[in-house]
Symmetry: C3
Subunit: 472 residues, 3 copies
């Protein structure tokens, strides 16, 4: 039965000079608190300190990184408890799903899923055998037994993981009562902040937009029949979020275009949208105006604006109709930044209140566009690799592409961007290791002195995320 262990030198290179430097750098940051300025953990978990029940509903059903690769090997999503929260597996089905996962363990070779899951199994659950058809049941039982213990509930794990700050992702109309519950709870010493995520309200040509904007009116108490009303209602909700601890807004659309329409034209298209008569092209044009308007608001209220563009959502119609969104059927696309971001940066790029963090899964633009932009505009930072490229080799490429045009100080610090709560420590640890390796590379070929590399690795973990996200 092959053992499952975590090598202390994992992700470090074999070449000993470089490895020694990497070890020394990593050693100084490995135990620092986790700062997580962008993620998708449900705030209810923390607020209610909900106990988890079984390995499958915790680790498999909600994790689209896992679901997609199992689906690619012919596994039905429903058998994995997808969509999570809507399908409830019986005990036998949950156990069978876990067995499916363990049987497919070789499928994950070389993927970051494997890396994260190994860390979770060993460090959190004390598993010491490699997942396989033979070991699946025993591992399932071991995880289940661990989850039943009182110190394995979300708040206890936040302590154990040293999570100093964590942002959730929230709808503009959310009343944020879980955040208020946490803020009012003097026994809770971590900081959990909401994030303003208004994407759906900026897509006037999509189904359901009119109803959303009606809700926006109700929640804000501001009439949204006109574009001006929409703007005021958004300002109102941003203020509400800010008052409840939010530090940023997050935006994910198909492109980065921020070209504003003339005021009259925006109002006209908005009225068409309210009447359900806007075309897709007009909807895109209005959305770009709205995104520009969001930047204007950010330059006034100081919420950090993060952009996560160019994912083609719900690529497979039947899967979407059966299981809904976020089940692994999203696919990145190329994205353009230099022209697209120009209106926004031209207007606000040197405004000290405005702060923009641009993420991408299109690695081609890191060195070509984002580095040069962030290397000029004081307001702009480049987000670390995200989603499909939050993985060791991709992070190395990111650092190699960005360090030369923009150094370290114009990057965001690590973002885990996950709803897989238990993977948070492993994700941050991966980042700390790979950044240590990148810095070690610079040290051993004499581009950087080791005392400077020590400063950089500390800043990347402990300073940069706080400064970029204004954590105060």
């Amino acid at each position: 039965m092959p053992a499952l262990t975590l090598h202390p030198d994992r992700l470090f290179p074999a070449e000993t000079t470089t490895r020694d430097v990497a070890r020394r750098l990593y050693e100084t940051v490995k135990d620092l608190p986790i700062i997580s300025p962008h993620g998708h953990v449900p705030p209810q978990w923390i607020a209610d300190n909900t106990p988890w029940t079984d390995p499958t509903s915790l680790l498999l059903s909600p994790d689209h990184y896992i679901n997609r690769l199992l689906h690619a090997h012919g596994v039905e999503l429903s058998s994995l408890g997808v969509p999570p929260g809507k399908v409830t597996l019986s005990d036998d089905e949950a156990r069978a799903a876990w067995r499916t996962f363990c049987t497919h363990w070789p499928v994950f070779r070389g993927t970051p899923v494997r890396y994260w899951m190994e860390a979770e199994l060993v460090e959190i659950f004390g598993v010491d055998v490699r997942p396989s058809a033979e070991t699946a049941d025993a591992i399932y039982d071991q995880i289940s037994a661990t989850l039943a213990q009182p110190d394995f509930r979300p708040r206890q794990l936040m302590d154990r993981f040293h999570i100093e700050f964590m942002a959730t992702t929230d709808d503009p109309c959310d009343d944020l009562h879980y955040h208020q519950q946490l803020a009012a709870d003097s026994s809770f010493t971590h900081r959990v902040a909401p994030t303003f995520r208004p994407d759906r309200y900026l897509e006037p040509a999509r189904d359901g937009w009119t109803a959303l904007v009606d809700t926006l009116a109700t929640v804000s108490g501001i009439d949204t029949e006109s574009y001006d009303g929409w703007v005021k209602a958004m300002e109102n909700r941003r203020a509400y979020f800010k008052a409840n601890g939010a530090v940023s807004s997050d935006h994910a659309h198909l492109d980065l275009d921020t070209t504003p329409l003339p005021a009259g034209e925006a109002s006209r298209l908005y009225r068409k949208a309210r009447a359900g008569q806007i075309t897709t092209e007009e909807g895109d044009a209005l959305r770009r105006t709205m995104l520009f308007e969001m930047a204007r608001m950010a330059s006034e209220d100081g919420l950090v604006m993060t952009l996560h563009p160019a994912a083609f959502r719900n690529h497979h119609t039947e899967t979407f109709e059966t299981y809904g969104p976020d089940v692994g059927a999203d696919v990145p696309m190329a994205v353009e930044a230099t022209r697209a971001l120009r209106p926004m940066l031209d207007a606000f790029g040197t405004n000290p209140t405005f702060r923009l963090v641009v993420f991408t899964m299109d690695e081609a633009i890191y060195g070509r566009e984002l580095g040069p932009l962030a290397g000029f505009y004081p307001s702009m930072f480049v987000g670390v690799p995200w989603w499909f490229i939050d993985a060791p080799d991709a992070i190395k490429r990111f650092r190699k592409a960005l360090t030369e045009p923009a150094g370290f100080t114009k990057t965001s610090g690590f973002i885990d961007d996950t709803r897989a709560f238990l993977s948070i420590p492993a994700r941050h640890d991966m980042s700390r290791r790979i950044d240590s390796v990148h810095l070690a590379d610079l040290v051993v070929d004499h581009r950087l002195e080791e005392d400077e590399a020590l400063e950089v690795i500390h800043d990347l973990v402990a300073v940069q995320p706080k400064e970029v996200f204004r954590l105060g």
Copy 2:
């Protein structure tokens, strides 16, 4: 006179820990049979066991990898025996062409052509001096003498190379008599399969299309005056190919778009095409419909569909007019996959009978688009690097870009894609070496245990190509 030798550790890294792992992995696969599911060796060579005559007509004239770089240094293509089969060089001219090649040996430094040719010279012909103006004649004589021996004919080399399976590339109207001759020959123990390559029949706006479709009608016995007839005739020829051993169809167009026209519109454009009145844009639209239709057929007959898009063919008009196609004047272009493949994958991507392998020379889409797509759709696989990127550093980039989003099991296994028969062993050997190095990298930084890496390298060489191409 500098020696020509092959180092046993070639392509392995200098760092000893990694090299040792790579050696151990490679050792287990280096002698495994060659499976070649996509290539361009003429079936007649095998069927007739045609003896080769001279080094130039065998190694230079048909090899556009070599021709292009010599042309780029001012060598006239005609002096190299281009186009092969149409130009016949005298003995003196053939020898002079070889001398030109050897004189230009430094031009190939660092290119895969050099790597393959060195392997051929040393391992097949026993050459032990470096090619140069001084050594050209002696090498020419040595190769000529070797070729005259009876055990250096195609079938004997297939034995020697351990080629278990080899696919050729064939016109839909081909009667496949060479394949039938091989199938009927009980003394021939290798498997040689045709591949259905209908590109020209899917380009209704190109010169000569009408005549091709007439031939299609004649060969299939199905009237092709209507689009429905074209579809039925294609189905007929696919069935013929399948009955003659084909396992796949191959498609190479300028883009990957698979958006189908409404049925009536396709028929209308088809009629315009038959009348010679279709525009380029309409031709593109109809071709995309035809490609979608090919996927529908594949989802019924089970021929694996491979796509090799986005080569700008015959970039230089004068060269094309003088020498014809495939002489080194083709240039890759950027290609988009996420949107382009959506209609096809939306319709057939979870169909167990449908299987799609997408190749690209646009490395930007490996991690950004193809990995995420193949990591969701059970029907889709990513083809290994092809043509200009079938080379050590590019293969490393491919593995680094693809392993993280999609692992190993959604890649195609190695494809040599060559008409240079003698280079087949060297090409497969390069792939085995580089995959061993990639796996060794994962082992030494503790992302993968060595026992698992041993399984992966074996699967990549011996299992994956058979499964992906349904070799049974």
Copy 3:
């Protein structure tokens, strides 16, 4: 106080086998003369042997590589003496600017700016402490004192730097009197050549174009009211440049498109432009025709044509209005080559007189488009990394992307492309080191013998630039 030193093995890898080979290769070229076929040093500096006054006006104010990163950290450009030549800082202000730079030294960690500046400080000025707020004044004084010495004037440094050939960049209407002054000066033994840079004359839709073309008429003595006149005037100025030693023309536009308009249409659009009535789209179309025409001229007069496309200039309006161009607010964009260059290469790509060198900051096209093009067309060469990607990791990627499809002999040799005169030796040294490392990589994994690598590194430094730029 941390020391500032240059490690003799800088940029070499830690792995000892590879490092040893790299050292041996580098050793043979490190002292070879510098050939600089494309750059931006003002010819007046050399002609007048102007003494430099202070560190800030020499090293900071004109260097947009530095300005942009300081600006990105909130430093006002005016405080750095931008725009150079128009703003004059007082002694105190110049010293304060230098202090700002030294205080921001950590911002440059891992950037090539840091690498170049360290070499300048240590090797030229003998600085031995790391720049910081504490050391800024002492370093300022040390540089100032050095600059006051007579052997630190431009001509003396050209001797010391072993600059054999240097090209400047010049307006077509320039009378080139500095170049004539240098040519007439028998005490000056270096070769300094002008470069014909006509960009502004090829943008008929831009403000000021009409006045420029008027000047062109005056200077050439050829009426430019018609397109034919423009062509003749350009030919006239190219001849003038050639007579004054020019070896190349340089062209930087938003894209690489070279599609010519029919003759009548070009004339028609030209007349509209002269009347100030051309649209942006028409201006682009006419510019592409003019660029094609430049290639035609090059195929007759033999000036090497270099292309530096796809920089979005003056991205930030306010900065442009306040400080003008070339202050760090330019951002690269994606660029397409395969289709765009086709008209030009189809017409002139095999013409022995025509020579084209294509540079890019879009790394995606190196392997995908430029390598395959240069690997076929005898007239075409690929320029080494430029501007944002003239940096160690980027140069490594360039060589890895280009060597496999095109080898070494179809690349341009190093181009420093700088107005930072004192950084020229460090830039060439960086290139020699990184090329040595790339070659060492090929040697240690047995793709190239060391005697061949020695030939290549010599050719890249001493032969290739002379051959590509026809330095005779």
